[in-house]
């Protein structure tokens, strides 16, 4: 085609100021300054101003808008407006150049796809992750180690438990932290004479409280779940929300629980067997490794559960509860089972927390429940590795932000990350294969399993 000049180019080149080929210049102008482009510019500048205000100085009660005024006149705003413009360019231009970029990356992409298709050894990957988890605290400072135990490991365990309820059985439990509280207060009751105002006749080593808390939390789960699991999606969420509040209110107002002052002096975990003595002390590392062990065991056990007949029945309930019932799945009993399993893991985590750490009713706030729900959804509902990795990311982010931004603003950033995640990757960091399929199908209008247990009624009931 280049050697023969028999086909002269039909389009004579027109001069263009930018020096770009005319079509690209026009293309860009249209993308940036067309109607939609200008609208996006306004949105991006608005976001810039908003971010400037959000991160700017605060107001006083007398001058509620003072903070906004000072944010807007501060020269800092220029930075934010420029960021807004940058965002505008990125948002408008990326879709245009995306195909070109993708074409450039095609070989690499094909390779990645090929790799992900191959049945890699999950054992190798898991061992590598485990080695990382074992070694990482050695590289961290003391505050980070504390956070690794209190904010990450404990919450990873909680998220794994809630994952059974949300990810497997598809029920939204907003009062999950209540079982955590039950475990923690049970530990205080059984292990110490003075931690709270009541104590058991026999004082036990915290290790013996694990099975007790396990059973207590499961019983609490069954008591709460029995009458309420007949409810669908949203109603169940409200009831569990109420339950979480009730437990926190009791903890806060009861004489027995020592009220808002919380529990002091729960003994640390310790082992005394055949002359061997070891006590988990102030150092967070031993707690970290104990928790890591628990997390690994939980992950393995739940993996078995997920692949079992029970796991398949949960998936059926999530996808279509009526059809599940009609095919002989005892839906109520299995939902109760998921609820009780989730609750007992939470109770377990409560024992760990209580023996490690001072706690008061504030520890079991509604916000903590929401946090665990967020971790599960962020990490990838139904994916064990996903919820653990999600916990590490989100809670790690919270730890990093602790030093970077004022404490009052931390949740704003936290929320922004979660929102962005839900827009661009609603299936979570590492989605479970089944969930990914469910989301894909429900986006195509088939089924409704991603709507958290609100059983699809598309086929409707006819009178």
């Amino acid at each position: 085609m280049t050697t023969t000049a028999t086909h002269p180019s039909p389009a004579p080149p027109t001069p263009s100021g930018s020096g770009l080929p005319p079509s690209i210049g026009k293309w860009l102008t249209e993308a940036l300054f067309g109607r939609a482009g200008l609208r996006m510019l306004a949105v991006c500048l608005g976001l810039g101003v908003l971010s400037a205000i959000v991160t700017g100085p605060g107001s006083t009660a007398d001058e509620p808008f003072d903070g906004i005024r000072r944010s807007v006149i501060d020269p800092r705003i220029v930075t934010f407006l420029l960021l807004g413009v940058a965002l505008w360019v990125v948002v408008r231009v990326t879709p245009l150049v995306w195909p070109i970029l993708v074409r450039g990356f095609e070989p690499a992409r094909a390779q990645v796809t090929e790799l992900s298709r191959q049945r890699y050894s999950p054992i190798g990957l898991n061992l590598a992750l485990l080695a990382f988890a074992i070694l990482i605290p050695l590289a961290l400072g003391a505050p980070a180690r504390q956070s690794l135990v209190n904010d990450i490991a404990i919450y990873a365990l909680l998220a794994l438990g809630l994952n059974v309820v949300i990810g497997y059985a598809g029920m939204l439990d907003l009062g999950y932290i209540a079982f955590f509280a039950i475990g923690a207060y049970a530990t205080a009751y059984f292990t110490s004479e003075k931690a709270i105002n009541v104590h058991s006749p026999v004082i036990l080593n915290p290790f013996f409280v694990f099975p007790i808390a396990f059973v207590l939390a499961a019983i609490a789960g069954v008591i709460l779940g029995g009458p309420t699991l007949r409810l669908r999606g949203d109603y169940l969420a409200i009831v569990t929300l109420g339950f979480g509040e009730i437990i926190q209110l009791i903890a806060n107002n009861s004489e027995f629980t020592n009220g808002p002052r919380g529990a002091f002096g729960v003994p640390h975990l310790s082992i005394h067997v055949f002359g061997f003595h070891y006590e988990w002390g102030q150092d967070p590392l031993p707690y970290y490794y104990l928790l890591l062990g628990l997390i690994v065991i939980t992950m393995i056990a739940f993996g078995q559960l997920e692949r079992s007949r029970i796991g398949r029945a949960w998936a059926a309930i999530r996808e279509d509860e009526i059809a599940a019932e009609a095919t002989g799945v005892p839906t109520l009993r299995l939902k109760l089972l998921a609820f009780a399993i989730g609750a007992s893991v939470s109770g377990f985590a409560g024992v760990m927390y209580a023996s490690k750490q001072f706690f008061n009713p504030q520890t079991f706030s509604l916000q903590a429940s929401f946090l665990v729900v967020t971790l599960v959804i962020f990490g990838g509902m139904g994916s064990r590795l996903g919820v653990v990795v999600g916990t590490v990311i989100l809670q790690g982010l919270a730890f990093v932000l602790r030093d970077l931004v004022p404490a009052t603003d931390r949740l704003i950033y936290f929320g922004a990350v979660v929102i962005i995640m839900m827009i661009f990757r609603p299936q979570g960091v590492i989605p479970s294969r089944r969930r990914k399929r469910e989301i894909k199908l429900s986006e195509a209008g088939i089924g409704g399993a991603d709507s958290l247990g609100a059983a699809p009624t598309a086929a409707g009931s006819q009178t």
Partner: protein
């Protein structure tokens, strides 16, 4: 008598959906339940399978009342329900969907899978495909296959022909007849009265929650009211000649 409904009344809140329905299905029979939208056909099936509870009257299986038995246990008693709208599990594979049908009893799974695949070879081809990505006809096959995985004595089928192409409907009805031939009684809810009456032994016609007509399938097929209301025939003179069939290749316009 395998199944007997005695004066069953069902209500959704204040709205009465069934008013004293009497109906029987004997071992090995195909019984069809006809009626327009909203006549109460689906309600009847759901009441039998325990998803709804009657306000009055009784559902008897082998002469025993089912009122206390939860829906999921009915399958142990030999009743399988293929619900309206197929309701397969969309994100599960064909194989997993079928395994769900054998949830309560895993002794004969391999054998039962083979039996379903023999009836519906198409399902075998798509055994690892997600249920939700099947065509409507394949989904219906899957719904029926799932129901017979439990080796039922009584199969409740809710509008298996809904939304399917005529050729597929043909296949589905042939398979229903085959399943019946192995001794499974079928209670078939249909709007496609002509097809249903062709394979059924007996039929009932429901109107606004009441049985208005019942009898052997042949008699119902010949009944003027059925022909007019459900077969869409113009019931003029009894022997009105049918319109001449359109010849292949003939111009219709």
């Amino acid at each position: 008598m395998l199944l007997e409904l005695v004066d069953v009344e069902v209500a959704y809140g204040a709205v009465t959906a069934l008013r004293g329905v009497r109906l029987t299905v004997d071992n090995g029979e195909i019984v069809t339940l006809l009626g327009a939208n909203g006549a109460g056909k689906t309600t009847t099936l759901r009441t039998i399978s325990g998803l709804l509870r009657p306000r009055a009257g009784q559902v008897l299986l082998d002469g025993e009342p089912l009122s206390k038995i939860p829906a999921h246990q009915l399958i142990r008693r030999g009743v399988a329900h293929s619900p309206e709208g197929r309701r397969i599990f969309p994100a599960m594979s064909v194989r997993e969907n079928l395994l769900m049908g054998a949830f309560h009893d895993r002794k004969h799974v391999a054998e039962d899978l083979e039996r379903v695949f023999a009836l519906f070879p198409r399902l075998k081809e798509r055994v690892s495909q997600a249920g939700g990505t099947l065509s409507g006809g394949e989904q219906q096959m899957l719904a029926i296959g799932r129901a017979i995985m439990s080796r039922p004595r009584l199969l409740l089928l809710d509008e298996p022909s809904m939304g399917l192409a005529p050729l597929v409907v043909q296949t589905i009805f042939e398979v229903i007849a085959q399943i019946n031939a192995t001794g499974v009684a079928v209670l078939l809810v249909e709007q496609n009265a002509a097809q249903a009456l062709k394979i059924a032994n007996r039929g009932y016609v429901l109107e606004t929650g009441q049985v208005v007509l019942e009898g052997p399938a042949g008699e119902l097929l010949a009944d003027d009211r059925v022909r007019q209301a459900y077969l869409g025939e113009d019931v003029g003179p009894p022997e009105s000649p049918a319109a001449p069939p359109v010849q292949v290749g003939e111009k219709i316009l």
